[in-house]
């Protein structure tokens, strides 16, 4: 245990925490959709990849920084999610899980291959000037891009929390999530709320994509990995719990970074899946999830 090693470890944990915030935002989208509609979005990683591509295109062709294109991408994703729910997914609510799975699998195949057809199979990254900037705190280094991405993710999560606790629509969505029938009885337009919810979930993952492209380059093959990652995070944190998704994101971000440091980087996902298996068996409702499945 040298001081050097401890420093490296602390540095890995910092990087893990910062990336973990963006993971958390991505998983938040999945968690919101599941929490309200009981639909598992198997196209989540594919949506993330589309968000990354849009931010990359904005940077490459319009010279707009991903941070600035983020609101536009989130708005586009909200609209797309709203329409997707209204047109395709709505009839599948309450249907057997395998039918929902097949529907979203088809959506996933379409999204990822449309990206492939448009942008090609090569990795695409953004080269920004701030890429090499960093803030130093004593011996520790905070990558500027990671730090900005993490702060933006926190800010968006905060906005979302305000939306769900302070606005009428947000409260109505929570009511519909708690008790669908009662929400209908008191006259809430549950169908519209569901579309709204899917839009919000999609906006989260779109925003997370715009942030993620500043950290790593995008390729269509990342999609499955992100879908799995989002599953791991929300199960570990607790499906349907917003704080749980963020906590899960941090946990997985750190565990990946530390596993990459202590073991081989290629072993890091084994770590995450091991964690997933443990949580599923010992506390299937997740760390912060409540009550029955």
């Amino acid at each position: 245990m040298t001081a050097d090693f401890l420093l490296n470890l602390a540095q890995a944990i910092i990087n893990g925490l910062l990336t973990g915030m963006v993971y958390g935002l991505m998983a938040l989208g999945l968690s919101v959709i599941f929490g309200v509609m009981r639909i598992v979005n198997f196209a989540h990683g594919e949506m993330m990849v589309v968000g990354m591509y849009l931010a990359w295109m904005g940077f490459e062709y319009l010279q707009v920084s991903p941070m600035l294109s983020l609101p536009v991408i989130a708005a586009l994703f909200f609209g797309a999610g709203y329409i997707l729910q209204r047109s395709l997914i709505s009839p599948f609510i309450g249907r057997p899980e395998h039918q929902q799975f097949l529907l979203l699998l088809a959506v996933a195949i379409l999204l990822v291959n449309a990206s492939l057809a448009i942008a090609g199979p090569d990795s695409r990254g953004v080269q920004m000037e701030s890429q090499f900037d960093s803030y130093e705190l004593g011996p520790l280094v905070f990558d500027a891009v990671r730090l900005h991405a993490a702060l933006a993710a926190v800010a968006i999560a905060l906005l979302l929390w305000l939306f769900f606790t302070r606005t009428r629509t947000g409260k109505s969505i929570r009511a519909a999530a708690d008790n669908n029938l009662a929400a209908l009885v008191v006259g809430l337009d549950v169908r519209r709320l569901y579309s709204f919810t899917f839009g919000i979930g999609a906006a989260c993952v779109g925003a997370a994509g715009a942030l993620m492209i500043t950290i790593i380059p995008v390729s269509p093959f990342l999609a499955v990995e992100y879908t799995l990652l989002a599953f791991v995070i929300v199960i570990v944190g607790g499906l349907g719990s917003m704080t749980g998704a963020l906590l899960g994101g941090l946990l997985i971000g750190v565990s990946e970074a530390v596993a990459g440091l202590l073991l081989q980087p290629s072993l890091k996902s084994m770590f995450s899946f091991g964690l997933l298996i443990l949580v599923l068996l010992l506390r299937p409702q997740g760390l912060l999830g409540k009550g029955s499945q």
């Binding site: 395998h98 996933a108 298996i277």
Partner: protein, 332 residues
């Protein structure tokens, strides 16, 4: 004879005749078909077989597994590894493969069912085990690691070591598919099969009337995993290579689930019809993709086809087709 009579049950004669003609045609198919069409038929039979295996767990017992690549991968790796390292032929190696995959199924099943994980949670558990194993095999030298395991391609036909051309593999997979079909029919006719359907429809009610739910689910996953391992062994020797990235990939697991879901979950003909539909679409779109020369275009059409099928035939193609053709089995 009584076994056969029970197997036939109330099936309408029309369906029996159709099956007999289909089997006869399949037996002579290699003599009639060219290389390309034989390879397509092999693909159809493979997906029909592995779909039948998956259908036992999901279609009969109602447990959604999205990690069946685990059993196919384990089966393939064990038989191929035994042959590669020790020269033990697949007809012997297949026993080890089936036992290991069955045990893996038992472990996943016991953990999942014991802690009563159901639906999405069980599905995620199966994905996690499959992914976990994928990364483990990436780092396991005996199995070739991430660089893959390759079997030598030999020109001679050697049935003992399952080395040879497409015709050999065609008859093996035909035998497996036909065997699985008969096995599934027998299972459905048995008490166990009735228990499974009861569990699928309402596990709590089944438990209440005395169905041994945990044991029945365990039997389902072990049979399903063991059959899937057979498909994995066949696959490994047919393609002569194995990579953790593909053998245990989530994509492989999903591939296994598609034919039965598209064809009709829980039905005997569903996996077969689904395999025909999906392989047919896949081949047609490959040709189209070759013409259009846009990356991913084949998959885009494939995705659209899946979307259309799940929206308009959510219960699968076969139940609708059977109704149209008047092939519905009379209820006893």
């Amino acid at each position: 004879m009584s076994f056969i009579r029970r197997l036939v049950g109330n099936a309408p004669p029309r369906i029996l005749w159709s099956l007999a003609i289909l089997l006869a045609l399949l037996l002579v198919a290699p003599a009639l078909l060219g290389k390309y069409w034989l390879s397509v038929l092999i693909l159809i039979l493979y997906f029909a077989f592995v779909g039948q295996a998956w259908n036992i767990l999901m279609g009969f017992a109602g447990q959604l597994s999205l990690g069946h690549a685990l059993y196919a991968g384990l089966g393939g790796y064990i038989a191929a590894g035994l042959y590669f390292h020790y020269g033990i032929g697949p007809w012997a190696g297949v026993f080890a493969a089936v036992v290991v995959a069955g045990m893996a199924g038992a472990i996943v099943g016991y953990l999942g069912f014991r802690f009563s994980l159901a639906g999405v949670y069980f599905a995620l558990l199966t994905i996690a085990f499959s992914e976990f194993t994928r990364v483990a095999f990436d780092h396991w030298e005996w199995a070739g690691g991430s660089g893959g395991l390759f079997l030598k391609v030999e020109a001679v036909t050697d049935i003992i070591n399952l080395r040879g051309g497409p015709v050999l593999f065609y008859y093996v997979i035909l035998g497996l598919a036909a065997g699985a079909f008969i096995l599934c029919r027998a299972l459905l006719q048995s008490r166990l099969g009735q228990y499974w359907l009861a569990i699928r429809e309402d596990a709590e009610a089944a438990q209440a009337v005395g169905v041994p739910v945990l044991r029945c689910k365990m039997i389902a996953i072990v049979i399903s995993a063991a059959l899937t391992a057979l498909a994995g062994v066949w696959n490994a020797f047919y393609y002569n290579n194995l990579f953790p990235e593909t053998a245990f990939a989530m994509g492989r697991s999903i591939e296994i689930t598609l034919a039965p879901i598209i064809g009709g979950l829980g039905t005997l003909f569903g996996p077969i019809v689904g395999a025909v539909v999906l392989t047919g679409l896949g081949e047609a779109f490959t040709d189209l993709g070759d013409v259009l020369r846009i990356p991913g275009i084949k998959q885009i059409f494939y995705g659209l086809a899946l979307l259309v099928i799940v929206m308009y035939r959510p219960a699968g193609v076969w139940p609708w087709l059977a109704d149209k053709l008047g092939l519905k089995e009379r209820q006893p």
